[in-house]
């Protein structure tokens, strides 16, 4: 039987270990990501010089892999919002170990996703014209608004609950890290000392952000879908697109969260904290969203297919039977029904099963974004031969670099920030072991991190919890 203090110390040890201990594998991985990123940068330089001619985007199919990547990454960024804000708002007690990772995914995916819009531009130096000459009658402008708002909100929402843990790092690691990280901890911890007043104020900030970020996140991917559905193109012009995009975003966000959780758990031996329970709960969430996505897709294609308009015939044929049929059916069967089946069969209801489902989902959702973008533009608006599109080496390189930067930012963040929400996990652990036993313990438990005084109080509380603990 652990004492609470031991449990707490072990948690801090496991969390800081990820920050402090760096093996050669880490550097190898980092180098690999930098090489991929470098190649992408090189190819982008080529695009900068020669223009979008180096891609396969032309007059008829003018959006391709870049916009796919944009939609995909913005979708992934919904991981943090859902897990963190919705679970926090509903007080789901198991959320604590996964929230921090989820919030990091949000911030990083947003940065990468938003930059793909600029990458897709033929004249990126004109990006500021969006603000100078922007007209709010344009859906593109709505997107700029929504993503700017979401990005700001996500960064605040990431940094606010991290303050007590940064204070912990500031107090514990000041003699173990260099100047830069000491400076980061000192400034970002905002003089946190765990006083009740600070707890109250921080609580207010987190509550506001938690409530505001849910509608913002929903609006972001709805607006992304409106860029497509506000047009009169067959396949895009459907009122269910907002729902499809938001559900798909949360779907792929949860899948990405599962994958990254599994990787970190394995590398840093966080088995004690990221338990099978967490994976299974997220897996159920994945299965539920998979089923919902099947419903939304059925709804979309059946209504469009039943009152089939002329252009719809072409759109449906290429999607269901011809050029994009393999992608489409993999998406439906592997990506949407797959997770449901994996969660239904008891044998695959394991961490490995959940991770397999998550990988399927991420691939399927990427393909879905791809065929939505490309098939919509491929439907001829006039009786001409349908155009073709296949990403060029430049496009694949830049896309790979996007994935690499996504990994790179998380990899670097591990060496700076606490990736487990120590204070929230401790609160949760406390509540779990004391149960109805001690109000005192949970009161004290809210002040785990910070100054020496609160640590002493914590030890006392730990002592009392020990007596009545299970």
């Amino acid at each position: 039987m652990d004492t609470l203090t031991n449990w707490h110390e072990r948690l801090i040890g496991k969390t800081t270990r990820a920050t402090l201990v760096t093996t050669y594998k880490y550097w190898l991985w980092l180098g690999f990501l930098i090489v991929i990123t470098g190649n992408g940068a090189l190819q982008y330089w080529k695009q900068w010089q020669d223009g979008l001619y180096v891609t396969d985007m032309r007059d008829r199919i003018s959006w391709g892999l870049y916009i796919t990547a944009f939609v995909f990454f913005i979708g992934i960024s919904h991981a943090g919002t859902l897990i963190s804000a919705i679970l926090r708002a509903t007080k789901a007690s198991w959320r604590a170990p996964v929230t921090r990772i989820a919030e990091f995914i949000t911030a990083v995916a947003l940065l990468v996703g938003a930059s793909f819009v600029v990458i897709d531009m033929g004249r990126p130096e004109r990006i500021l014209n969006v603000y100078r000459f922007g007209r709010w009658q344009s859906p593109i402008m709505w997107d700029v608004m929504a993503i700017t708002t979401y990005m700001t909100a996500s960064i605040i929402y990431l940094s606010a609950p991290m303050i007590p843990d940064l204070a912990l790092y500031r107090d514990r690691l000041s003699d173990k890290v260099g100047m830069l990280r000491r400076f980061i901890y000192r400034t970002l911890a905002l003089d946190w000392n765990g006083s009740p007043k600070q707890h109250k104020l921080l609580g207010k900030a987190i509550t506001i952000m938690m409530l505001i970020i849910i509608p913002i996140a929903v609006s972001v991917h709805t607006v992304v879908s409106w860029i497509f559905s506000m047009t009169l193109r067959a396949g895009w012009n459907t009122s269910i697109f907002g729902v499809l995009f938001v559900a798909g975003a949360i779907f792929s966000g949860v899948a990405t969260l599962i994958i990254i959780m599994a990787i970190l758990r394995r590398i840093y031996h966080w088995e004690e904290y990221l338990t099978e329970k967490h994976f299974l709960y997220l897996g159920y969430l994945l299965a539920a969203f998979g089923a919902f996505m099947v419903y939304v897709n059925l709804n979309e294609y059946l209504t469009q297919g039943f009152n089939l308009e002329e252009a719809g015939v072409f759109a449906f044929r290429q999607l269901f039977l011809e050029d994009f049929a393999v992608m489409f059916w993999f998406y439906i069967i592997g990506g949407l029904l797959g997770p449901v089946v994996l969660m239904l069969i008891p044998k695959t209801r394991t961490i490995a099963g959940v991770v397999a489902a998550a990988i399927l989902v991420d691939i399927a959702m990427f393909l879905e974004r791809y065929f939505i973008v490309v098939t919509g533009l491929r439907v001829p608006l006039m009786p001409y031969e349908p155009a073709s599109y296949g990403p060029t080496f430049v496009e694949w390189s830049v896309f790979a670099a996007g994935l690499a930067v996504f990994g790179l930012l998380i990899t670097v963040a591990i060496k700076i920030f606490p990736m487990l929400a120590v204070w929230e996990m401790t609160e949760e652990h406390e509540a779990a072991i004391s149960g109805t036993h001690s109000e005192e313990a949970s009161m004290a438990g809210t002040e785990v991190a910070g100054s020496g005084t609160s640590m002493e109080r914590f030890s006392d509380a730990g002592g009392s919890a020990e007596e009545g603990g299970p």
Partner: protein, 336 residues
Amino acid sequence: MSEYRIVFSTRIAISALIAATILTIASPALAAGIEIAVGAPDSVSIGQDVEIKAVLSEDGVPVEGAEVVLTYQASLAGETARVEIAAGTTDATGTAVMVYEQRADFNGEMQVVYRGPGTDPVQPFVFTIAVESDGPQLYQFEVGVRIPFINGTLVILVISSAWFLIALAAIYLVRVGRAGQSTSEASTTEDGSMWIGTLLATVAVITAIGMVVVFIRAPVSNAHIRNPHEYDRTPIAHVGDEYSYVGFGLNDESAAQTGDPIADGAVLYFKYGCAACHGLSGQGAAVGTPLVDEVGSFGSFSEDTREGPKGMPGYDEVTISEENLEKIHAYLRDGR
């Protein structure tokens, strides 16, 4: 319908009045001696439905069943022509009503023209209608549904309140920092700072204001069709205006007689159309091969130009004189 300027001549007006009061079974009008009178508004604004009345009479008798058209002077790319914008047939009183929608911001000389059934020539009626300058600059469709209170202001309110809450949360973080500074004594290991919270709050507030400014400015920042003075991003070309084309003066012989063979060669390189295939500076393009580094001796260059290898047309000495070809060669060899 705005007031009418009556452009009837007295004689015709009287005859039209008489015509209106007398029921006549009009025989198909004979075109000879037909006169046209027109009632039209003085000035109109863009987007307005304009009604034009034409009254046709022949020796004081109204002409029934005559076809008339309304035309105006349109001009595009230096070409001018008369464009029909409405047509009508006269009734028993000799009156034809034609309605058109004012889209251009200048009508020029308008005419009501007789089209038949008679074949004898009829003098068209010429008149002008001024277009009010303070109307919308361009023609707009008036489609759409206006719902009270569902408008841009509401959008601004929603966005502002989201940003207000974000800023509020950031301000709470600033207060967290301040609370830390006031309570922390020697126990804190190092001096902390609250500037990051302040920074976040400032960024949030500034971005919030910026977003709202973008929204409020939106109608004036681009394509403000209600007020032409605000529409200054792209030069406006009006139908009817004439713009003189200023070229490079390549046909001017003296342009290639400066005395500097390289400068002359550059002009001639454009004049003879080399640039069309071989790129603006001879770097090569989709059709023509690169010339700059491949130009070689004048002998082979001249041979290639005269003969035209691989689908290139040959240029004989009548087209490009030997002297000019040497200049082009000089430009390609030393020009860059």
